[in-house]
Symmetry: D5
Subunit: 96 residues, 10 copies
């Protein structure tokens, strides 16, 4: 099941750089692990923004919510979710 997720990151200016770096490093490792497992199907940077557009491929809403809230940057992100489904004009059956 596919979900379109936009994440905008806002780190507080007062956060010590070391803490920010640690957060980003852990975030990156988890993001890459979820990409390799196939759950985080696409991950793109929006040009000029500290934000991304992602496609998640999960078994359901609970799994999606569990993944998102497990992200180290979750407390600093604004997240918008749109459920997706197959487009009748798509040439691919499982366009993940």
């Amino acid at each position: 099941m596919l979900f379109h997720v936009r994440m905008d990151v806002n780190l507080p200016p007062a956060m010590p750089p070391a803490q920010a770096e640690e957060l980003k490093k852990t975030e990156r490792e988890l993001a890459q692990s979820l990409q390799r497992s196939g759950q985080w199907r696409h991950l793109w940077r929006i040009a000029g923004q500290y934000a991304n557009v992602s496609i998640f491929d999960v078994a359901g809403v609970d799994e999606l919510h569990a993944l998102l809230t497990s992200l180290p940057l979750f407390p600093y992100m604004q997240i918008q979710i749109m459920p997706l489904c197959r487009h009748p004009s798509s040439v691919r059956d499982g366009d993940a």
Copy 2:
């Protein structure tokens, strides 16, 4: 070069059904042709909306604009474009 495109379709209620069907049929054929050529990389329906989220993979902005304005439904669509780039945490080099 990747672009995130959202298209919302609004056909005028007074359009004769035959004309609407003809428009949609031509649109579908062109959309499928562009998917096969690799320019229209992804095409998803937004659940509950007469709208889609698409990823285009084109040589540049001019090609993107030419593709979008060639769509039969273009006069009836509201279109929003976001340029995308590779995310530093992506595990794939060319995540099209």
Copy 3:
């Protein structure tokens, strides 16, 4: 899987009353059938609006989209969807 759906209805003023009545009647029959099958779990009128808030309990996004687009009033509705999940403070396991 639960989804929160808000539907705002806008019938064109020029629609003949008989056609509007027929649409609403078919809509009501389908809505009641889907409530009885358990897929349309809740249906409330928003006070003072020609709009409703609904909770759907479906197997996934595709089923939700199929249900919504099968509604006779679908072409005349603006629809917003929010995926829901179990709240950690809920006292009920399956709060449908």
Copy 4:
């Protein structure tokens, strides 16, 4: 009488974790007590958000306001209320 309530929580980043935990714990106990009394009829997490959608079943607006302002997280929440009523197509008389 049913009211649709959306609550978005924003804890200040500088709040000490122990204070936040204590607030959440007290909030959870009160939320569960109000669910058991039947006043807080439904409580769902909005996926990907520190926010919930709730249905309250109360005797009137004063009772609703008293409940909401008694929540320990009230000073940190943005709250939107929509009065609901029975939908003419609902198959249930008292769809709480």
Copy 5:
């Protein structure tokens, strides 16, 4: 129970003047009857707008919805409702 209601009226430009006058006349009679019964407690014109701000004093949400949808201009109005309650600094117990 008090509700704050804002109504913005939009009559279609193509409506024949006689029909518009008849609608407004019936609306006025009903509005005055509801004011006399005490249910429509206040009715003010917003300066420069074809819109009003009203205070309704009703037994509950169902009665409010029934009143509003019975108005002849209801199909041509955009309505926003805010539930009100007694303000702790009010000097009057029942400030209707």
Copy 6:
């Protein structure tokens, strides 16, 4: 002359409780005095919000501005004003 005023209060989280209480106490006393003088004609709490809807009955805009800026909470409030006039369907001449 009637004015519809909405006030949303935002006290800074870092304000010492004693200072907040003192502000609210002085605000309440002034609000009650202005209600008794007839200038602050109505004062209602918006349910679920730290906000109120008020009706002021003043000699003109200067008096209204002087009253609002004299409120102890003024520096912490967002204020929206709408001038009101008699509604042609009102049954009361001076509906204050």
Copy 7:
């Protein structure tokens, strides 16, 4: 008493040109008469818009509303009103 008024004009595209011209002519005559009487103190075109910013100097809200609704273009205008008062840094006592 001064009020800041912004008027945006939207004539329906289907209005016959002769009717539009007649409306504008009558509007202009009334606008000029109200400027000469001192009630319509300033009248400026917003560059690039079919819209104006105006300053009215009237005895009160009722007079303002009566003036605005007497304008021939009133049914085709969107109007926003802001009450003004003397600025403490103004060098003129009656800055109309």
Copy 8:
């Protein structure tokens, strides 16, 4: 050349009162000097807001920008500019 300028002031709550007073005093002196020179043609307080509406009469955009950025409160203001021109229905040639 006339420009319509709206300025909303937001002083940080933590600013020491003496500093705020000094800023406002210098602002007032400059504002009055610019009014006397004819560049700051009108200055009105928006009722209930820490905001003003102003009309500037300057030789061009560069002069306007230089004036605005020279204001002591500039770093604490949100500014919106609309270029104005003579309205065809104005009775005054140079309606400054």
Copy 9:
């Protein structure tokens, strides 16, 4: 003097194609003439939109307004204007 202008075009769907073509042809000729005279300094299409971003270099606001309202498509355009001035970091004195 430079102004940033965004124009969004909305031709009514019912306009006969011949009339639309004639309008666009006259518009193009005038746009090109104004570019050659140096008043319409830049003209870019916004990708995927029936809209443009333009830079005008004119003697003042009156000239800008006269140019814009002389465009054949003016009645069908939504126009937003932002006055520009030289940026202190620009390497060019007259960056038209």
Copy 10:
């Protein structure tokens, strides 16, 4: 390839002036170097705002994103990007 970029700068009020000056100085040097290389084709100040409108001429989205994120003020800017293409009515082939 042309991109329209708007940048709004928000320096935190608590930033020490020396740090702010250093940031702005480095920003200016980089901005001027990018203008001389032809990548930052235009740079205008929006009147009355701490904001600019810029036109970038780059090989693609990746180059644009790399340039923007290399700016010293990037962490303090809100950035909006619109891809541009040649307008059919432009008199210049390469209107950079």
